[in-house]
């Protein structure tokens, strides 16, 4: 479903994605696991046609995001790491606009919007301006919206960040169901090890723009002789994923990486 080979992205002198290659099988759940600043969002942006790579090749559902963006756009749904709805519109209007952009016929659109908003517990608030929603509500709205046009591939960039455990659980249950019942390929990024371990069939561990390990979570754990993915990550990279969290440490790490490269 997704094929990436030798992918590179430079931001000026910073190499955010460094010669990354991997395949995601149709119908699988694939997790990209890595600390803040590892290059996960950059990778997703390239796959979803909004950022051009510096080098390498990509295929999403057989199409090239660079040469054939519209074909690629038709196949995926995405929940971005940061909000991407219109705050001045209501939840319903945001959904409806999305439906129009993806040419969902109006009768079906109405039915599905209701169904999805009910699923994320926002039906009842559908007429409220999104600006007044809490962070968790906004995220749930984004998830509902990404599913409206029944995508073949669903990209989720740190989808559970800022969600309470209950909603998180609820969301993964639904996404797993989507994968199982409708065969939707799931590609998600996270820096929660347990999430990747529990949910993904396949994992790629990314650190400083490079893939350091790939395979089924159990295999990675076995290969590194660790007891969990968390330990495996430390074994692979020499550092704890959590010490990389937060923007300040991200900047410190960037500086370190910069000096290392010189």
């Amino acid at each position: 479903m997704i094929k990436v080979s030798g992918l590179i992205k430079d931001y000026g002198t910073i190499r955010a994605v460094d010669n990354v290659s991997f395949d995601v099988a149709k119908g699988s759940v694939f997790a990209f696991l890595g600390p803040n600043g590892a290059g996960k969002t950059t990778l997703i942006k390239m796959l979803t046609t909004i950022l051009r790579p510096t080098g390498g090749t990509m295929r999403v559902n057989g199409h090239d995001p660079v040469d054939d963006p519209d074909e690629v756009r038709r196949t995926f749904g995405i929940v971005f790491q940061d909000p991407s709805h219109d705050e001045q519109l209501t939840a319903y209007e945001n959904m409806d606009l999305h439906g129009v952009l993806y040419a969902v016929p109006s009768v079906e659109r109405k039915r599905k919007i209701r169904e999805l908003l009910e699923f994320v517990d926002l039906w009842g608030r559908q007429g409220d301006i999104v600006k007044n929603f809490s962070g968790g509500m906004k995220r749930r709205l984004e998830i509902a919206r990404a599913l409206l046009h029944e995508p073949r591939v669903l990209f989720l960039d740190e989808p559970t960040l800022g969600l309470d455990p209950q909603t998180r659980h609820h969301m993964w249950a639904y996404i797993k169901g989507l994968n199982k019942d409708k065969g939707v390929t799931i590609f998600f990024t996270t820096h929660y090890m347990d999430e990747a371990e529990r949910i993904a069939h396949d994992v790629a561990v990314i650190d400083h723009g490079k893939i350091v390990a790939r395979g089924a979570p159990v295999d990675i754990i076995k290969q590194t002789g660790s007891s969990s993915l968390e330990d495996a990550f430390i074994a692979l990279t020499g550092h704890d994923i959590r010490e990389e969290e937060g923007t300040t440490s991200d900047r410190v790490r960037l500086k370190r990486a910069f000096w290392r490269r010189r």
Binding site: L51, Q88, H98, V100, L101
Partner: protein, 248 residues
């Protein structure tokens, strides 16, 4: 088409849900009417140019059109900041449709604000020559609005953050307004300034308005509308191209 309409509707909703936007853009034109219209009026008359309000009104009507349209076009910067831009960029629709929806939406709200200022001008004593030309005047206002909105969208496609906005106001919008035929007649103006004013797209919109409302024109309505249409086409093409280059 429905994509263009949906994006157009979004702009309309955003505009009419914000009272500050509805009212905010009226302040400046009213100030100009009061200060210039009544302040400079006697001098204008003494110089044998007739009633200044009659001259000034089309320029003042163009003011909110220019400002609101450019501002609406520049909403791309906000959409970039607040994320909505991503939603449109990943959608499987042609970039032309997105640009058209945005530009027409921005143009419509700017045109509406222009109509409000038109009414205010009439309340202040502005009189039009021939009511039959009113629809044509409203048409010219809309063309001007489309051009300005496309211009704002084009420039905003190049800007990454809100800091660029102030620069745009100071180095594009203000000069466009003051170096046009909005506030003063061209008679006796130094040649260099005259050339600048004649190259200014806004001048054609204002001249077109004068043709329809009060006579006293520079180029004639045909030329004004023709130039505006050519400029709109060129600006829409540029705008679509620049928009398609946006990366996030």
């Amino acid at each position: 088409m429905s994509v263009v309409f949906a994006l157009w509707l979004r702009q309309i909703k955003r505009h009419f849900r914000s009272r500050t936007r509805l009212i905010g853009s009226l302040g400046q034109p009213v100030l100009f009417l009061l200060a210039l219209g009544f302040g400079l009026g006697p001098m204008f008359r003494k110089a044998g140019e007739g009633d200044y309000l009659q001259f000034l009104a089309p320029g003042v009507i163009a003011m909110p059109i220019l400002f609101v349209a450019v501002f609406s076009g520049m909403e791309i910067i906000w959409d970039r900041q607040f994320g909505f831009l991503k939603e449109t960029l990943v959608a499987p629709v042609s970039r032309i449709q997105i640009v058209l929806g945005r530009v027409l939406g921005g143009a419509t709200v700017a045109w509406f604000q222009g109509c409000l200022v038109f009414l205010i001008c009439v309340i202040f004593g502005f009189r039009i020559n021939n009511i039959l030309f009113l629809p044509l005047a409203l048409g010219v206002m809309f063309l001007l609005a489309i051009f300005c909105s496309a211009m704002g969208t084009a420039v905003a496609s190049l800007l990454e953050d809100i800091q660029g906005f102030q620069m745009m106001m100071n180095f594009l919008v203000m000069p466009l307004f003051f170096l046009s035929n909005a506030l003063f007649p061209l008679k006796g103006v130094p040649p260099v300034l005259r050339v600048v004013i004649q190259l200014n797209p806004l001048s054609y919109g204002i001249d077109g308005l004068r043709c329809c409302l009060t006579g006293g024109m520079l180029h004639g309505l045909g030329v004004d509308m023709g130039v505006l249409l050519v400029l709109i086409t060129a600006m829409l093409a540029l705008c679509t191209w620049l928009f398609s280059l946006i990366q996030l």
